[in-house]
Each structure stands twice: as structure tokens, then as C-alpha cells.
């Protein structure tokens, strides 16, 4: 058990509203910033082309450039994280400071990447999502609470139970990732492989 992920249980924070649908991972982090060979520092390029204009000046009315909004909770429109499998999207959100992403719908690979990096993806319904956006519009300091143990997300007039896979919940609470788990089963994996047809068909020495 080396290299523990950051543990996460309760996050209490204001939220940043991002009410756009179908945000793809090219928007979260454009491909030209994927050239690093480590996981650090992607936050500065999070939503790069929404945050900065052609000359590199900040675009004032973009939500991340507006000091009224802050916090470690990002509330985003439907189908967040679609497109490319780049885990850099999750690294960028984490590095920027987000620990919870709320939406009515997440793309599969993004959701898996978030869970593997200490970010909790919280799914709420469309009405609840709109209520969150409205509450933040009225008061940007609206506080939200994500309680992973209780699987509850509340604030801005909503209080919902959210679903999370029990295995990943344990991983997040304890800062464990799948490798720790898989390595505990390595003997079973080897035994499986020995009898596995595709493996046997591709053994040239048989």
C-alpha cells in the first residue's frame, strides 16, 4: 500500500457554476497541454480556451476569472466530460482545487477518471441542477455540503441522496486506488489466466 490518494469524506464549500451541456474533455484541457510526463500543474490550463483569449489575456466574464465565484465544488451542465479519455481532465480539475463535480449526467470514462483521482462525481436531477444554478446566481456564497459517508449532497435549497458504487466509496474514503485492490488478488488473476481460452490460443509454445 504505497502512494495513497488524498482521502475524501466531507466537503463543505461554495460552488462554481458552469451551466453548459456536453462539455468535452478537449474544453476541460486542450490537447496541446497534454505533453507533460507527470500529473502536476494541469490546473493552470483548466478550461484554457474559455479562460484566456488569443493573446493570453484573461476573459473577464468567464466564471473561473470572476472572483465572485470560488470553492472546491464545480456544478456543471448535462453530459460533463464527454469525448477523449484523457485523465489530464481529472488532474486539471483536481489541481485547480475541485474535489466534487456535480452534474445531471457524466460521461463514463470521465467519471471513472474522477473516481480514480479523489474527485467525487455527484449526479443530481435536472431540476435540482437548475435549483443549484439559481441559488448560486442569487448568492454566490451559497454553501454546499457533500458528505460521502452519508452519500448526501445539500445546499442551495436542495438535499439529495446520491449514488456511488460501494467499492469506489470505500476507496475514496480510505484514499486507496484500484491497484492496491488488484494486487491483493494477483494469485487469483494468474490462476484465471492459466485456464483462459484467449490466453491459451495465443501461447506460441504450447
Amino acid at each position: 500500500m504505497v502512494e495513497l490518494m488524498e482521502k475524501i469524506s466531507v466537503i463543505r464549500s461554495a460552488a462554481v457554476p458552469f451551466p453548459y451541456e456536453n462539455i468535452d474533455t478537449d474544453q476541460i484541457i486542450p490537447a496541446r497541454f497534454l505533453k507533460a510526463t507527470d500529473r502536476l500543474g494541469f490546473g493552470k490550463n483548466l478550461f484554457r480556451d474559455w479562460r484566456y483569449d488569443k493573446s493570453g489575456n484573461t476573459i473577464k466574464d468567464f466564471v473561473l476569472n470572476n472572483s465572485v465565484y470560488s470553492g472546491s465544488v464545480l456544478i456543471a451542465g448535462k453530459n460533463f466530460g464527454c469525448g477523449s479519455s484523457r485523465e489530464h481532465a481529472a488532474w486539471a480539475l483536481f489541481d485547480y482545487g475541485f474535489r466534487v463535480v456535480v452534474s445531471s449526467f457524466f460521461a463514463d470514462i470521465f467519471r471513472a477518471n474522477a473516481l480514480n483521482n479523489g474527485i467525487v462525481p455527484v449526479v443530481i436531477n435536472e431540476n435540482q441542477l437548475h435549483q443549484c444554478f439559481e441559488s448560486i446566481e442569487k448568492d454566490p456564497n451559497t454553501s454546499f455540503v457533500m458528505d460521502l459517508t452519508k452519500q448526501q449532497f445539500s445546499g442551495g435549497g436542495i438535499d439529495v441522496d446520491f449514488e456511488i458504487d460501494p467499492y469506489k466509496k470505500e476507496c475514496l474514503l480510505n484514499g486507496l486506488d484500484d491497484i492496491d485492490f488488484l494486487l491483493q488478488h494477483i494469485d487469483e488473476i494468474k490462476a484465471f489466466e492459466k485456464e483462459h481460452l484467449v490466453h491459451k490460443l495465443n501461447q506460441t509454445d504450447v
Partner: protein
């Protein structure tokens, strides 16, 4: 019990089910490339772990590589560092690498099938969402994040929730000028970018069974664009004929045994799907996209519909209600893991033979692999492209993703055979119009958006 094709393959790979519903899934092969692997190798080193089985990994450099002067050192320092890092990691962990200049180098989803590494009934992963391409062979193939790349390197397994099953059936005969690319663009426009999220899609019906393997790859490639974990097609004689004699397929008695196994890979008649869609081939015509996701597509002669997403239209410089026919374009890109195989290049070449591109258009033809490049040259396709004023480049992901030197300038229109038209995908401010190779070829000749069918009668 009656099972779907997807269930048959998935269930054969479950090492163990764990409380809460997840399963440890065995992965038969992992492809890796320079962009999404460095942090995975770094993770192995930090934990002091080795690679579970070096025979179950294939590496290549594709995303970052230049497509001109590949024999020279990569100019861009960060790209060079990633490609060098891949080389060093493969050396350290003793993994086979088809690096720059290697005769087997190419886009990861092109080389797997052409080398016979991709085989029916396999589970295949890669840190790339277009891994769904391999589903054309009847594989459960899907894209993963870098943490999962590391997990597979270390254990050859992933801990996953089994996706739901969807079947998309298209029956009938495609009309002249309508290709595999048009079929998948049509399906995505019907389902939308999130319409298949949470599902694994099986494509069924005569339209797919009549397709070549390369056409099936084009279809499965874009499964992710409607959110699907992957897409697959039951293997048949076409599949077996394609694979027979390829370098990495089972040999001798094992081949006979393998073919027996492949023939069991189909959805049982009584198998249940969680969701089904059916379309009629008659309703599919050559397609293009007008917006900033692959679901925003229309028949090439149709008008842009009234939509809410005005930001997308503003980005594209287009308006509701207008058709794109006659719209001037500046770039044409023929390539990517969607459409860079030999049949794609042949279809382009047969169209442009004896024609010249419009003066104002830059046209890049980028083969998917060294093998495709060599084959194209041996058939004289390169000469046809050069005579038409097209550039015939060296293999790589090229202008699909704005990561290497091949970028589309801001504000310029590019008719592209790739898979994504996201904002900035082909370079900051670039405006991508997705289309089939044949439509792209016709647009290159005329320098504007044209309906390829008018050339075919």
C-alpha cells in the same frame, strides 16, 4: 441462458465478482502510446512494480509525431520528450515498441488490427477513447484513463461495473456515395453525444454484415461519440478472412481452434438488450457536421436545424436554416483512426484521379500506419494525390487533435475525416466539418462543401 455477444465475451473475462457489483475483468491486450502512458509508468516505478505480462502490451508513438521529415529529430521539445519517455519506458520494462520509423509504426487503432494483435473475443484497452475501433472484430474494446493504464500494466485487470447492452440495427442497402462514415455520423446525430452513455453497443443488420473490416472499424471507432463504452460487431467470414495469415494471429492447430471459438461469438436469438434502435439504410445519405460535437450533423444537402446551442453556431460561423453546400473551405484532412486505412485512401484516390484540388485549399492525406503508407505507394496512390495537389504525409494522428504540428488555423474551415469537431480540437479556433473520405475528396476538388453524389452519376 441466451446471451448477447457482449455478455459472452465479458463474462468469459470475469476473474471475480466483488461485493457492490463490480467485477475484476481480465484484459487480453493493452495498447499504449506516448501521451497517456508516462504517468502510468511513473506510478509503477514509485510503487516498485513490474509489468504483469510484456506479451500482452503493444506500444507505438502516434499522437505527437510529426507527419513530415520523420527521419529527423522531433523539433517540438515537449513532444520529443514524450516520445523519448515512451522509448525509455518500453526499454526499462521490456515492452515491444513500434516507434517512429519502425515498419509497424502507426496510429494505435490502425496497427492493432493490421498486425493481427486484435482478435475476436478479446478484451482490449488503451488510454484512448477510440479504442472502441477494435470492436469491429467482435472484441470488448474500450478507452481508459491513465490510472487504469497503470492498473493493467501491473495486473492485466481492471475493476469495473458491467455496462448495459444496446443494439443498433441498420437494415437495407446504402445508396451510392453513402459510406460507413455516413452511417455512424447518422446514428450519432440520432442518439446525440450522450445517447449511449453507460452502454456497450452491438451493431447488427445487413448494412454492417455487408461492410468490409475497415468499414466496420470506422463505425465502431465513433461509438464513443455517442457516449458508448464501446461498440462491437459479431465476427463472421469477413473477419476471419481479414485475420487469416496476419503476423500475430494463432497459428496451425491453434488457428483452427481459434476459428471455432470465433464462430461462437454472436448474440443468441433470444438474447435481451437493455435498449434497441433500428434504422433504415434508405434514410441515410452522405453526412456532414455543422456544430461543435459529432451529434450535430445533417444530411449534406439539408439545412442547419433550429437549435438552442447558438454558441456552437457562432463558433462555427454558421447560421440556423442555412445549408452548407457551396460554403468555402480552406483545409481538407484525410486521416485519423477513423479513416486512414488503405480502403479510405483508395476511395479518395479513385475519386481524385485526373482531377486537381481547388487552388485555395490545403489538402493533407495522412496514412494511418507505415504499412498503409507503403501499400499506398506500391499501388501508386501517392502519385495520384501529388498530381491532384494533395500532400501525402507520413503516418500519425496528425490534424485530428491539435497536438502535433498539423493544426488548422483559427477561423479556418476544415473538412475532416476524423472523429471530433469539438471547439479547438484541430487547433485553437479551428472549425471542423466531419465527413467521409469521399465527401472530403469532393470538397478538396471544388474548394467548397459539395454533395459528392452529383459526381457519381
Amino acid at each position: 441462458m441466451a446471451k448477447t455477444l457482449f455478455d459472452k465475451i465479458w463474462d468469459q473475462h470475469v476473474v471475480k465478482s466483488i461485493p457492490g457489483g463490480r467485477q475484476i475483468l481480465f484484459i487480453d491486450h493493452q495498447f499504449i502510446h506516448e501521451v497517456t502512458s508516462p504517468q502510468a509508468f511513473e506510478g509503477l516505478r514509485r510503487r516498485g512494480l513490474g509489468v504483469y505480462d510484456t506479451n500482452k502490451i503493444t506500444a507505438t508513438a502516434d499522437h505527437n509525431v510529426p507527419t513530415v521529415n520523420q527521419h529527423l529529430p522531433i523539433v517540438e521539445p515537449l513532444s520529443k520528450k514524450q516520445v523519448d519517455t515512451l522509448e525509455n519506458n518500453c526499454q526499462q520494462f521490456n515492452l515491444p515498441l513500434f516507434g517512429l520509423g519502425h515498419e509497424k509504426q502507426g496510429i494505435v487503432h490502425v496497427i492493432g488490427p493490421e498486425q493481427g494483435i486484435t482478435q475476436p473475443g478479446m478484451t482490449i484497452v488503451c488510454g484512448d477513447s477510440h479504442t472502441s475501433t477494435h470492436g469491429a472484430f467482435g472484441c470488448v474494446a474500450f478507452g481508459i484513463g491513465t490510472s487504469q493504464v497503470e492498473q493493467v500494466l501491473a495486473s492485466q485487470c481492471l475493476v469495473l461495473q458491467k455496462p448495459k447492452r444496446m443494439r443498433i440495427t441498420v437494415e437495407g442497402k446504402l445508396s451510392k456515395g453513402t459510406t460507413a462514415k455516413d452511417v455512424i455520423l447518422y446514428i450519432i446525430s440520432q442518439l446525440g453525444t450522450g445517447g449511449a452513455t453507460g452502454y456497450f453497443v452491438e451493431y447488427a443488420g445487413s448494412v454492417f454484415t455487408n461492410m468490409s473490416m475497415e468499414e466496420r472499424m470506422t463505425v465502431c471507432n465513433m461509438s464513443i461519440e455517442m457516449g458508448a463504452r464501446g461498440g462491437l460487431i459479431a465476427p463472421d467470414e469477413t473477419t476471419i478472412d481479414y485475420l487469416r495469415g496476419r503476423p500475430n494471429v494463432p497459428k496451425g492447430k491453434q488457428w483452427v481452434q481459434a476459428v471455432e471459438y470465433y464462430k461462437t461469438l454472436f448474440s443468441d436469438q433470444a438474447a435481451q438488450f437493455d435498449l434497441e434502435y433500428s434504422y433504415d439504410a434508405q434514410n441515410i445519405t452522405p453526412r456532414i457536421t455543422y456544430g461543435t460535437n459529432p451529434g450535430m450533423g445533417i444530411g449534406i444537402d439539408e439545412a442547419i436545424p433550429m437549435i438552442d446551442n447558438l454558441k456552437a453556431l457562432k463558433y462555427m460561423g454558421l447560421e440556423q436554416g442555412e445549408t452548407l453546400i457551396g460554403k468555402e473551405i480552406q483545409y481538407v484532412f484525410i486521416g485519423s483512426c477513423t479513416n486512414s486505412r488503405i480502403e479510405d485512401l483508395r476511395s479518395v484516390a479513385s475519386f481524385v484521379q485526373g482531377k486537381k484540388k481547388a487552388d485555395h485549399v490545403n489538402v493533407w492525406v495522412v496514412p494511418g500506419s507505415k504499412k498503409v503508407e507503403t501499400q499506398a505507394v506500391s499501388e501508386g496512390l501517392d502519385q495520384i494525390f501529388l498530381n491532384a495537389g494533395f500532400e501525402f504525409r507520413a503516418p500519425g494522428c496528425s490534424a485530428c487533435l491539435g497536438m502535433n504540428e498539423d493544426k488548422i488555423p483559427a477561423g479556418k474551415y476544415c473538412v475532416s475525416t476524423s472523429n471530433r469537431n469539438f471547439e479547438g480540437r484541430q487547433g485553437k479556433g479551428s472549425r471542423t466539418i466531419l465527413a467521409s473520405p469521399m465527401t472530403a475528396a469532393a470538397c478538396a476538388i471544388e474548394g467548397k462543401i459539395v454533395d459528392v453524389r452529383k459526381w457519381l452519376n
